[in-house]
């Protein structure tokens, strides 16, 4: 069975081929709506979107992943822990933050299994996204390594693990159900 990404790519490929013949016959990239027969123009410009996002101030977070650690920041003055990490504490603007490691143990607060996927996730099989509350109260959203709804429940114990995301091959984190 083809992935959702392959199906989406096939859709564009068919449009390309169809409009190629239309350009040869009527001179424009004309597409007829399959249901209603109305005329549409198939865009002759394509935009690729890939962003360059600054992680300079939170670089430690990303460096720590290679040591198997997931970090957060803690406001030195108020003690508030920030995850996702941020380097400013708006409650005490003159204070600084320090880096702290998040505990690994947590409990699943909620979850969903993504069946219909965004285009850029269309190459993966169905995946589960959950939110866990960790032992220190910090909450984290990540994939959960279990896609059978019968084996998932609110309140189940999970462990936070650093993993390599394939096929892209970069470090991220995941929630892994713990056998009870």
């Amino acid at each position: 069975m083809s992935t959702q990404r392959e199906q989406a790519d096939m859709f564009f490929k068919q449009l390309e081929e169809f409009t190629k013949t239309m350009k040869q016959s009527v001179g424009i990239p004309l597409v007829m709506d399959q249901k209603t027969g109305v005329a549409m123009w198939y865009d002759q410009r394509e935009l690729k979107l890939k962003f360059l996002i600054s992680i300079e101030k939170t670089r430690k977070f990303f460096e720590a992943l290679s040591e198997g650690k997931v970090l957060a920041t803690k406001c030195k003055k108020t003690g508030k822990i920030y995850f996702p990490p941020q380097v400013d504490c708006p409650d005490a603007p003159d204070s600084e933050v320090e880096w702290v490691e998040l505990p690994k143990e947590g409990e699943l607060l909620t979850y969903t299994i993504i069946n219909t996927k965004p285009y850029s996730f269309g190459h993966y099989p169905d995946y589960t996204v959950g939110i866990a509350r960790l032992a220190n109260g910090v909450q984290i959203l990540a994939w959960v390594r279990e896609t059978d709804p019968k084996k998932l429940r609110v309140g189940m114990k999970v462990r936070l693990e650093v993993v390599k995301r394939e096929p892209e091959g970069y470090l991220t984190y995941e929630l892994v159900p713990v056998e009870e």
């Binding site: 909620t110 993504i114 219909t116 996927k117 285009y119 993966y124 959203l141 990540a142």
Partner: protein
């Protein structure tokens, strides 16, 4: 001095897959109707707020494209974005402009052309609407996925079932069947809904609002102008607003939308509505049912039901006409369709027509108090707008 603000004209396009029109043509369907209804000259418009989310459609500056087509070039304008509540945000901008005395007549237009892109691209754009870097980049959430997180937690905590969620879809499809502007004007059954495939477990296809093209417009006017052109103005009585964290992980729980509660409290306070018993004051409501779970949470966040009891309202059919409070008699986002930027304005249009007794037979609510409520949420409780419309002139401006 603060001034009162009225809706003096409304326009609404057919919602659906509108491959028969481009974005400007689609916008004009509503602009033309709204100007006609208001009985004003286009030259009287002081400002145009245009609600559009975009990304999936080709024109990045839909405000000027739509105004040029409509022969309104020259009037000051801006695009307004608050995700799925952009329409209500644009109404607030128009309301503030008139209330403050900066403008007398304002066009508020909402337009969205979502079907210019294929479904996986649209799913991608809406999925990114939260916190892109921390919650989408690595974990590929989708819009149904965000609300599914709420559905799972809600069902686990309160014992609501997937059938209860489907009952919301059944009601909204029923009312859509009476609304010729709706994308899906046909009835469904709980069985239909239960048999549909999962989109984001536990939400199924029939729990989800569709991808929609559509437009809606209102003409807002000061009391002075309204008095001259109409004997049936609908007043904006109060607007409540709030926001929620961009990261869902930072929410305190997943059984309600805090921003919606805050916005409701603010709107009730301004409108003089008892937050303990709002249904006593309100004849009809349009709530943000982008997913069936969202409507159930809306019942609770608006105080129509106690926390944890929203699903009982739909189980007991209390949100049909004749029940405690009729909700989404337009068919809602679920079955009327959800062209993001047009949705909040569509709510204003339909509620104005409800208050004036102008909607189709079978979906007209009995109007006793002359008060209607719109609950419009952007993202997953990222933005919240609760707007109260009334036939009676608000006591204070």
């Amino acid at each position: 001095m603060a001034r009162r603000v009225a809706i003096i004209g409304t326009g609404h396009s057919k919602f659906g897959v509108r491959n028969d029109v481009n974005i400007a043509e689609l916008a004009y369907e509503s602009i033309r109707q709204a100007i006609d209804e208001a009985g004003i000259e286009p030259s009287e418009i002081d400002f145009a707020f245009v609600s559009n989310v975009g990304g999936w459609s080709s024109e990045p500056l839909p405000a000027v494209v739509a105004l040029e087509y409509a022969g309104l070039t020259g009037v000051g304008t801006m695009r307004v974005e608050a995700a799925c509540s952009s329409g209500s945000a644009a109404i607030k901008a128009g309301y503030d402009a008139i209330k403050s005395g900066e403008a007398d007549v304002v066009l508020v237009l909402g337009v969205e052309k979502m079907n210019e892109s294929p479904t996986p691209t649209v799913v991608e754009f809406i999925g990114r609407a939260g916190n892109y870097f921390w919650e989408f980049q690595n974990f590929g959430l989708t819009f149904p996925g965000y609300y599914a997180l709420y559905a799972t937690a809600y069902m686990a905590k309160y014992g609501a079932t997937e059938e209860d969620l489907c009952r919301v879809a059944v009601k909204n499809h029923y009312y859509a069947s009476l609304n010729p502007k709706a994308q899906f004007p046909r009835k469904i059954t709980v069985e239909h809904c239960m048999q549909s495939r999962y989109i984001a477990w536990p939400l199924k296809l029939f729990d989800c609002s569709p991808i929609t093209d559509g437009s809606a417009a209102v003409i807002l006017a000061s009391e002075e102008v309204a008095k001259k052109v109409t004997d049936s103005p609908v007043w904006i009585k109060a607007i409540g607003t709030a926001s929620g964290t961009s990261n869902l992980s930072r929410r305190t729980d997943f059984t309600h939308l805090e921003a919606a509660r805050k916005a409701a409290a603010m709107a009730y306070k301004k409108a003089g509505i008892d937050p303990e018993n709002p249904v006593k004051y309100i004849d009809v409501a349009e709530v943000h049912d982008c997913f069936t779970i969202a409507e159930i949470m809306a019942y609770e966040d608006l105080g129509f039901a106690k926390p944890g009891e929203g699903y009982k309202l739909i189980r007991e059919e209390q949100t049909y006409i004749g029940g405690l409070i009729p909700v989404n008699l337009s068919g809602g986002l679920k079955a009327k369709g959800h062209p993001l930027g047009a949705t909040g304005i569509s709510m204003a249009v339909d509620l104005s027509r409800q208050l004036l007794g102008r909607v189709e037979k079978g979906r007209q609510a009995p109007i006793k108090n002359g008060v209607a409520l719109a609950h419009n949420i952007g993202g997953t409780g990222h933005y919240a707008y609760v707007t109260i419309y009334s036939l009676d002139k608000p006591r204070e401006a």
